[in-house]
Symmetry: C2
Subunit: 341 residues, 2 copies
Amino acid sequence: MRIIIDAMGGDNAPGEIVKGAVRARRELGVDITLVGREAEVRQCLAAENCEDIEVVNATEVITMEDDPSTATRRKKDASMTVALNLLRDGKGDAMVSAGSTGALLTGATLIVKRIRGIRRAALAPVLPAGEHGVLLIDCGANVECSSEYLLQFAYMGSFYAKTVMGAENPRVGLVNVGTEDTKGGAMQHETFALLKKAGEEGRINFVGNIEGSDVFGGKVEVAVCDGFTGNVLLKGCEGVIKFMMHALKDVFYKSTKNKLAALALKKDFTLMKDTLDVNKVGGTALLGISKPVCKAHGSSNAESLFATVRQAKHVVDSNIIGQIKENIDYMRIGSSGDAEA
Amino acid sequence: MRIIIDAMGGDNAPGEIVKGAVRARRELGVDITLVGREAEVRQCLAAENCEDIEVVNATEVITMEDDPSTATRRKKDASMTVALNLLRDGKGDAMVSAGSTGALLTGATLIVKRIRGIRRAALAPVLPAGEHGVLLIDCGANVECSSEYLLQFAYMGSFYAKTVMGAENPRVGLVNVGTEDTKGGAMQHETFALLKKAGEEGRINFVGNIEGSDVFGGKVEVAVCDGFTGNVLLKGCEGVIKFMMHALKDVFYKSTKNKLAALALKKDFTLMKDTLDVNKVGGTALLGISKPVCKAHGSSNAESLFATVRQAKHVVDSNIIGQIKENIDYMRIGSSGDAEA
């Protein structure tokens, strides 16, 4: 299996990206193609004593200043663009980038294309909760959603939870303002009916509406949401974690007595903190794209990049894309034709 | 000043409600009217050695099983309905209830009415962040919002932050999926333009779009949001806090060494926990109603009820309703007439 990596994406590229890629090759047994400014990338490889990794030269870099909706079209020789082209052309099995989320999403849609019949690709990170974690789908790819998009997110999320997260019969919940069937607006009502029907047909394990507090409560493995709400929820939760970590730090440093006590707790506290650390849990799969594309966190270090390559390997191994293709007829409503970009 | 209290609302009524009311009278110097089943309420008052508080009898109770949209119309003699009628009739200056949020919102709108020109009342809790806290408006009163609603939320939130929270020049942010001006869907774009204009005219201090993570980041005093997203965000944050508290507890109880260390931290840790405790910070004002109505948490104990009465007193003292009335012309767009229910 070969993983194509955008070596220039993210805040710590190319150094940390190359470091994570080298570790992934050693520990996961995958072949790696690094895409980026060849001289820079080779220098990083030399620093890691690993000079036999394939490098494909790309002279440009997509930055946070580039308009995401046009970045890969304007910068044809950017590392991200070239990496996506390699994936499309079958030169690897999956692509990983820590670059601009918006540019990656648009680029993957335009270059690699969506799975036939899938209306929109979704960003679906796995958050810590329960035994398997919870997949929050969508988290910002689509700020305005139709009920059909959400139906597709539910199916794709369910396949992902089963094959990649290892949940036997993943519970799917619709994020809403209450658990009663009638909660929410028109979009939630329509989606509820579609998910309920899919549940009754035994295609997904729909458990009904869930509240924001249930996302972290271990009540479901898949939380289905429009991208606007999902994005605000995800970032809000990140903000709360940060806020609490600061508050805890203040407690730990308040006095000598507290400092000594904190020292005794340090090991276990760090283990707990790690479960909440984006750098440890891997990246976000772009579900709905016709080949595996995974987004690593923009602030990825080597460890985070490694975790995202491991995730990409799981996505390839799981054949989730095959599963989506096989079930696409159940995932569409109406007959408004194909949605390929 | 007289505060009318629904003595039968919430999980711990009437015992804890009466206890909190007695404390409020003693410590805040306000007059109290308790509304509920007179015999039960008087028994609670006797237990508190405080039998000279005014009690108005109401034979029914609105429960979580009642349809919120019709509860106060169907149960004319419910404690909540009678309390709202007393407020409308000028028998008190503010009303407090720990009962069903939906029923209170509908009841307040139907009985007390909205301020003339205000399209929708909003639920606006204050969350811990920065120096003054942050008002998240709306948190679930309105699952589907227009840009005009959000403009009104921004004004009302700004007045509240200034007069009740004590923020000199409260910063108002629009919750969105990114900080760039162009982020979000059509509703956010329209709202952004309205808030920007209000900011340029010097009527509010609009600082632009904010992300979910900024809500707890101390970046603004007022976070403006549709009620669907606000509700999911608020409950999601509550879920994360609960999740982290559990994880911390696991760390604290893991070993004898950890238990001893946790014991040393206990006092300061409890203080920190209190800042995140809904029972300590008071309730949620229903902004847009023509007289002060405050919702205490459904699981309110005496302390939480007391904090909500204190908040109601601040709302009366601040004359925020007068401020909203004075500025109503700036808070409306178009000329689609009055929005009274």
